[in-house]
């Protein structure tokens, strides 16, 4: 959404959302949530067929309304912050939860940036004229009703609403309970602003009032929700993926690797490793494991390990790494848990591998399929790495941190898909659409 790459942020300790094994929702909650979904479904055609001009005007109106109501939103947010403090929320999470007039202005600006993006709806994906004269086009159309389940970050409420509306969808939101007061008012502000624009208020609805049960009811709303996107920590995502009866895109978990090949430029490799690990921690496109080719282990490791340690990175290494570590650089013994862990912290697993095949094998076994990078000047190694790694994004001589909708020029993203169906990698506006085949004829029948 913004250049700070909010969408790629994951939290190691998610708060408030559906992280525990969910209870089956009561019939009352199911009925209430499904009624909300039916209202979304009823409202959806009006935004689906709205022109880009109408949608962009609405996005500007939403942005203006948020800025106008900023004081009230900050007051509501103060309630969430007070509750968070009483519940012992960490300073980092409290910071993510905090809204200020400046942050609200930034969130509003993101809506205006969305308005400036091209409309994905109506794009002709494929087309041809068939031998029998039928004229065939496959055209992007909105999904219909998009659900979003996320954690205690009130900016996501606005991001998700904006992305959904720009791509022509009705949106149902379920935010973390820790942001309940902020989200409740934000959704009210957005709905009122939509109504003032002559669009249905039901295009943006929240189910926060129904708690965790409501979230599960949404996951079970088959036929009422066309796409459900979880955004947050690994627990939240796996719960949504496991429980959902509606189509869902798995996002976010990033156990990303950097492989430094024997033919790497050592200075480039050092810069990329430091950037991938330390430029921003706690994001899904940060590196979690460094793989070093055996042939350069004795030269590269003595450089990279102290540089990482100097940036307070806690290191876990295999025997070869520990043997190559200079005196004074502490490297804990790595085990399988380290290869499997997305630290989301200043912590890195380091392993010596025999060659690119060994690196690929390690990555195929342990990666979450998000982003992997190779640093090499050997073209065959680069090609083999690109081909052999089975992840959403593969970087050659670039930091893993570039896997991001904004960086890729998609303009915005609702999350980063680590599954292979529907969308893979950063999900922009196009990934919130489906297609429709339109066939125009003059009376053709099948023989």
């Amino acid at each position: 959404m913004t250049t700070t790459s909010d969408a790629t942020t994951t939290t190691a300790a998610p708060h408030g959302a559906t992280t525990a094994p969910p209870a089956g929702p009561s019939p009352e909650v199911t009925a209430a949530v499904h009624e909300i979904a039916r209202r979304a479904q009823a409202a959806a055609p009006q935004i689906a067929t709205a022109t880009r001009a109408v949608k962009d005007a609405a996005l500007h109106a939403l942005a203006d309304a948020l800025v106008e109501r900023a004081d009230a939103i900050v007051t509501a947010n103060a309630e969430d912050l007070e509750r968070g403090r009483q519940n012992g929320m960490s300073p980092g999470l409290l910071d993510r939860l905090t809204l200020t007039p400046e942050r609200i202005a930034g969130i509003a600006d993101a809506l205006r940036e969305l308005a400036a993006l091209p409309d994905p709806v109506g794009e002709v994906v494929r087309g041809s004229t068939l031998p029998n004269g039928l004229r065939l086009t496959q055209t992007r159309v909105p999904m219909g009703v998009v659900g979003m389940i996320y954690e205690a970050r009130p900016n996501v409420t606005v991001d998700a609403a904006g992305l959904g509306l720009k791509s022509g969808n009705a949106v149902i939101l379920r935010g973390g309970s820790a942001a309940a007061s902020s989200n409740s008012l934000i959704v009210q502000v957005l709905s009122e602003a939509l109504e003032a624009q002559g669009l249905p208020a039901d295009l943006v609805q929240s189910i926060d009032a129904y708690g965790r049960e409501g979230a599960v009811a949404l996951m079970h709303a088959r036929g009422l929700v066309d796409l459900l996107v979880p955004r947050g920590g690994a627990d939240l995502i796996s719960t949504v993926v496991r429980e959902s009866k509606v189509p869902v895109v798995e996002t976010g978990t990033g156990n990303c690797h950097v492989f430094v090949d024997a033919a790497a430029d050592p200075e480039m490799a050092l810069e990329i490793v430091l950037n991938a690990k330390t430029q921003r921690v706690g994001v899904c496109n940060a590196a979690e494991t460094l793989l070093v080719h055996r042939d350069i282990a004795s030269t590269f490791l003595p450089t990279v390990l102290p540089a990482l340690a100097a940036r307070d990175v806690v290191l876990h290494g295999d025997d070869a790494v520990r043997a190559a570590a200079p005196a004074g650089v502490r490297v804990d013994e790595a085990d399988d848990e380290d290869w499997a862990t997305e630290y989301l912290a200043l912590e890195l697993a380091v392993k010596v591998v025999d060659d690119v095949e060994d690196a690929i094998a390690h990555i195929r076994r342990w990666s979450s399929g998000h982003t992997e990078a190779v640093v090499t000047n050997d073209l065959a190694v680069a090609d083999r790495f690109v081909q052999g790694v089975d992840s959403a994004a593969v970087m050659v001589n670039a930091s893993t941190r570039f896997t991001d909708g904004g960086e890729f020029g998609l303009g915005a993203e609702i999350g980063i898909s680590t599954q292979k169906m529907h969308a893979r990698g950063p999900m922009g506006l196009a990934e919130l659409t489906t297609t429709k085949w339109v066939v125009r004829g003059d009376g053709q029948v099948r023989g």
Copy 2:
């Protein structure tokens, strides 16, 4: 697959597969099926990185092997047919189950046609150079492991294997138990032929030996199956969609509508209605409901109803239809069940609607989202119908029967998706792939 549109065939009374509420699989069955999936996953990289030449040569080898072993396959098939007769299988289903040397030759030819199609793998979908010099491409790559759950049609065993291999995937097959003997031998023939080509036998595996429990174990094989496609009757599809923990594409159910507008050419409308309903029944792209504009009800219905009746179509109509039916044409009273039913038979629901909006509202309420057709010469009506209907395919002045991978020029199809995520409409080779972002740089790091 072939021009007879096998892929669109659905059966009203599916046999043998997972139609009853499935029992949870035993730990032994789960372990066995997941081991098969792990073997598929281990074999997958070899076909994923195979060149088109290698894949096409393999498809020809599979075709040759089927023809060489045709006698043995017919013998195995005779066992299935005998069991089917003893179980009282209907003549229609027995016919679908039957393999003859000629039919086997046709199935083999379909593999050769697949070999002639372009390779979807490697297609560059999008690409750009970013302001920081990073070169970005989004390229089609295979899914990995594709599962297929279908009914008692042994030709699907070969179709699914061929489509999966051509698109670079390992394939796990679960056919209807009624075709167990045929499928078992066919899978053996295909596996042996792959091995003779230097490819892993595990690229095509069956889980038929594990019965219904095995099918459920496959649906639960998260992380081992990248895409699961059910193909068959509505019960099978809804079971797979409901039970699956792996990514699944819902296919096939087609409650398709034809709307004859006031501005329709009546002769064209008559031809399209007759073709959509009677050219082939029991297929998902056949029409199940006819909607007629009120302004032409008194002229068009007296023509179309007798023509349908003359082709043995059983008619169900609302009051206005019944009032317009000529003497001697029987029209039963239609109720909500008729609007909801995919007859898959010489049976049609008929309704008079006020205008295109009324037609759209009826379709949005009752359609399964497969294919709808409008017959009109009024451009505004045509545009509004195309926009307002929310289905995979919309026909203007053409029969619903054209929604088919072969007819659309996709060359082949594994099914017709009625969901919006990943694929919508006929699923060809491209729909059995995902994409990978490849980012090439010269040392870029994120600032």
